[in-house]
Symmetry: C2
Amino acid sequence: MDLRHLRYFIAVAEEANIGRAATRLHISQPPLTRQIQQLEEELGVTLFIRTPRGMELTPAGELLLDEARNIRSLVEQATERTQRAGQGRLGRLDVAIFGSAILDVIPTLLLAFRNRYPDVKVVLHNMTKNEQIEALRQRRISVGFNRMLAPHEDIGTLLVTTENLLLAVPTEHPLARQEIVRFADLAHHPLILFPSGARPSFIDKIIGLCAERGFEPRVSQEVGDAVTAVALAASGFGVCLVPTSATTLQFPGVVYRRVHEAPPGFFVDLTCIYRKADQSPILAAFLETIEAEREARSQAGSSHSAR
Amino acid sequence: MDLRHLRYFIAVAEEANIGRAATRLHISQPPLTRQIQQLEEELGVTLFIRTPRGMELTPAGELLLDEARNIRSLVEQATERTQRAGQGRLGRLDVAIFGSAILDVIPTLLLAFRNRYPDVKVVLHNMTKNEQIEALRQRRISVGFNRMLAPHEDIGTLLVTTENLLLAVPTEHPLARQEIVRFADLAHHPLILFPSGARPSFIDKIIGLCAERGFEPRVSQEVGDAVTAVALAASGFGVCLVPTSATTLQFPGVVYRRVHEAPPGFFVDLTCIYRKADQSPILAAFLETIEAEREARSQAGSSHSAR
DNA sequence: ACAACGCAATACCCTGGAGGTATGATCCGG
DNA sequence: CCGGATCATACCTCCAGGGTATTGCGTTGT
C-alpha cells in the first residue's frame, strides 16, 4: 500500500464518484479505477459498493476512511514538523551557564530567542568551564556561556558582551568614602577573588592587571562565584572587582564604585562557546540571535558595557 | 512523499548505514541513496550527516524517525483493522428486538455472537414490527427479530427458533386444577391476547386456531406484550397463550399448563429479518451464528421447543 | 419501448522513475 | 601510503502508473 492509494481512496470516498474524484486528483478516470481495485485487492476487502449512481462505502470502507484521514494528517504534520526542525524552528537547545553570567545579559538573550523561536525548548544546565567543554564534546549541550576561555581547536567562540569592571566595597570601608577610587588603591586593601575553579580565570586577569601596575594584590579570600564574593564584601571581608552586571546584586552593606586610572584591558568578556562541527540550525539560530541582540544593544546607545 | 520513503528512511536511520539498510530492504545500495536524497530534497531538510562510518541522524531526522515509526504503525493498524472489518470481525451491528423475544433465545444468541466476534459491537434497539421494517430500509438497523411477519420483497427472513405454546393460568383458575387442559377448554374462559400492535400478529394466529376448532375465543383483554399478558393472568384477568420461553416469567399467582389436543400449527416461530441487499459480512456472520446455534440446540436433543 | 445519458470497467499504449550494475570520491586504520 | 569501508554518481532496464479510446450496464426520459 501507498500513500497515493490512501489519497485516491479518500477522494473517491468523499466524492462517491470515481469520475469526479479523478478530476479532483487531476488524473483521468481509468487509472483511478485501477488504483482503487488494487487497494481492495491488496487488502482483500471490498471497500466500495458500485452502484449505477456511483461508489458507496462499505462499513470496512468507512473505517478505512477514518484511518486514512488520520494517516494523512499525521503525514502532513510530520513533514511540517520536520521542516520546522530543519530550519531550527522546532526542537531543543541545551545551554550551559555558570553562576554569575545569569545576572545580566543571558536572561534577556534567552527571552529574545524564545520570542523568535517559540517552539524551541531551551534547557539550562549549570556547569563550570571545563564541564562545559566536555559536555559540548559529548553533545550533552549545544552552547555554553563563559568568560576567560582558553582556546580549543574544535570549539568556536562568539563574543556576547563586554562588561567594565566595578569595585564592590563594604559601606564602612575607607574606599567607600573616597570620592574617586583609583586602581592603584587596590594595592593597599585585601581583595576577594573568584572563581576558585579552573584556570585561567578572572583571578588571573586581575592579578595580571595589578602586575602591570607593579603590585601584587593582597588576597583575603578566593571564592567560587561573584554572588559569594559580593556577599563577603558586604560582610566586610574586603573589596572585590566584579563585572558591571553584578550591580543587580544590591546587598545591604555593599556599594559599587567606578575605578579610575585603570590599566587597559580593565573589562571582561562574556563569550558563548559551541562545537565548530555542529551544523544544527538551532545553534545557528541561537548564535544569530546573540549577534542581533548585541547589535540592538550597541545601537540603543546606552549599552550595558558603557554604563 | 511516499510510504516507501518512510520505510527506507526508518531502515537507514536504524542501521545508521546505507549499505546494511539496503540489504535489509532487499534492494541495492544506490537506489536507497537516491531515495534518501529525494526525501531530503522534498522536505528541504538534511536528515542525515554523512560520516565516513555511516549515516548519522540530524535532530530533524530524529524527529522524523519518531513520526515515521508512528505513521508506519498506524498504517499497519489501519490495514489490519480494515481487513478484520471486511471479514465481519470488527464493526457494529444494530439489532432490533421486541419485548418478549428477549426472554429466551436472543440473549444466548447474542452471547454466542459476542464470543465469536468479540470486536463487533452489538447495539440493541426496541422496535415494533413495522418500525423494524422501516429501520431496516433506512439502514438504521441491520437485523430485527420478529414473529408472524408478513413477507416483504426486499426483506429476507431466517427462522431462529420454533416454540410451542403454553397456557398461562391463574393459580386459582378452574383450569389450573384440571389434570389435563385441552385446547377446546379455551372456548369457555376469557383469553388475554397480545400484542395489540400491527397486524397480522400472534392474536390472529390464536383466533385462527380457535376458528379451526369451531369456536371464537372470548377476549378479556388485548395488551401490548407477553410480559403484561402474563402479569394480567397472574392477577386473575384470564388465561393466556404464550411461547414456552415465557416460563422465564415466574409470577406468583400464575402457572403454566401444556395444552393437549391442540390443532396443528400450535406453535410460533421467531424469525430474524434483514435486508436481502445487505452484503455486510457482519450480517452474514450473524445469520451464520443463528444457524449454528439452532443446529447446536437441535443436536443437544432437549431443544427448547421440545421442553 | 427504445434512445440517451452517466458511471464504472476494460483494453491498450507510453513514459517516468524505481531498481540494478559498475564505478568514483573520501576517509580511516594499519 | 595502501586497503577497506562508506556514500555518491553514471548509466541502463523495465515495470507500473497514467493517458486515450471504448465497452458494459443500469437508469432515465420521452
